[in-house]
Amino acid sequence: MADDEGKGPATENAAGDRAAGVMEALIAAADVSKVFGAPIRHGETLLLPAAEILAVAGFGMGSGAGVRPDASGAPRRGAGGGGGGGGSALARSVAVVVASPEGVRVRPVVDYSKIALAALTAAGFVWASWASMAKPRRFRRP
């Protein structure tokens, strides 16, 4: 019985350590060293790609134990536990640094789909405001 009681927290700690390890690996994907890619040389020109990286991870776990009488009335111990987690890592190209004999320039990488989505969202704000202004609420009197 004493062994069973000791197994719960130990197993939970091991699972917690494993989850923390997975989370650390996921967060390491957004390490600052990954922001600049491998340089590309083309003649006298050097291209250095740069990206933004975002990694989010989370996990949670819980366990419990209790005693309840079975059909014969004898006390019966029970224990259970569980956990879950998830995470995501996103990368987006931001710019390319071009170093040529003429100089060093930064060429931005523009994501037009993100800009179009932002424009649609802004248009949604304006439309919602305009609609509420054009049709003011009318309260019916009893």
Binding site: A19, A20, G21, M23, E24, I27, A30, D31, V32, S33, K34, V35, F36, P39, E44, L46, L48, A50, A51, E52, I53, L54, A55, V56, A57, G58, F59, G60, R92, V94, A95, V97, A99, S100, P101, V104, R105, V106, P108, V109, V110, D111, K114, I115, A118, A119, T121, A122, A123, G124, F125, V126, A128, S129, W130, S132, M133, P136
Partner: protein, 92 residues
């Protein structure tokens, strides 16, 4: 929450030496159960002869996104304010 700026390996490009700089923001920790890491390019230090200058890397997509959203929000608030003033004004 921690902020850090780190430099990458120096790269030789002709007579210049480039040192990439990146910024990182970390929130939470694996022990806390939630962690977030956000790293983005900040600039490139260009050393040429005895002079060193910083060439900033700007996120044009992010700036345009935020600018458009802010403009939309301001326009919506102005419209709403105008509408509420019109409703409050007495009719002649």
């Amino acid at each position: 929450m921690t902020f850090s700026t780190r430099s990458g390996d120096a790269l030789a490009a002709g007579c210049r030496v480039l040192v990439p700089l990146a910024r990182s923001t970390r929130l939470g920790s694996s022990r806390a159960g939630v962690a977030l890491a956000w790293s983005r390019p900040w600039g490139v230090l260009v050393a040429e002869g005895a002079t060193t200058r910083l060439v900033r890397v700007r996120d044009v997509t992010r700036r345009l996104q935020l600018g458009i959203l802010a403009a939309g929000l301001v326009a919506a608030l102005l419209l709403r304010g105008r509408g509420s003033r019109r409703r409050r004004a007495p009719r002649r």
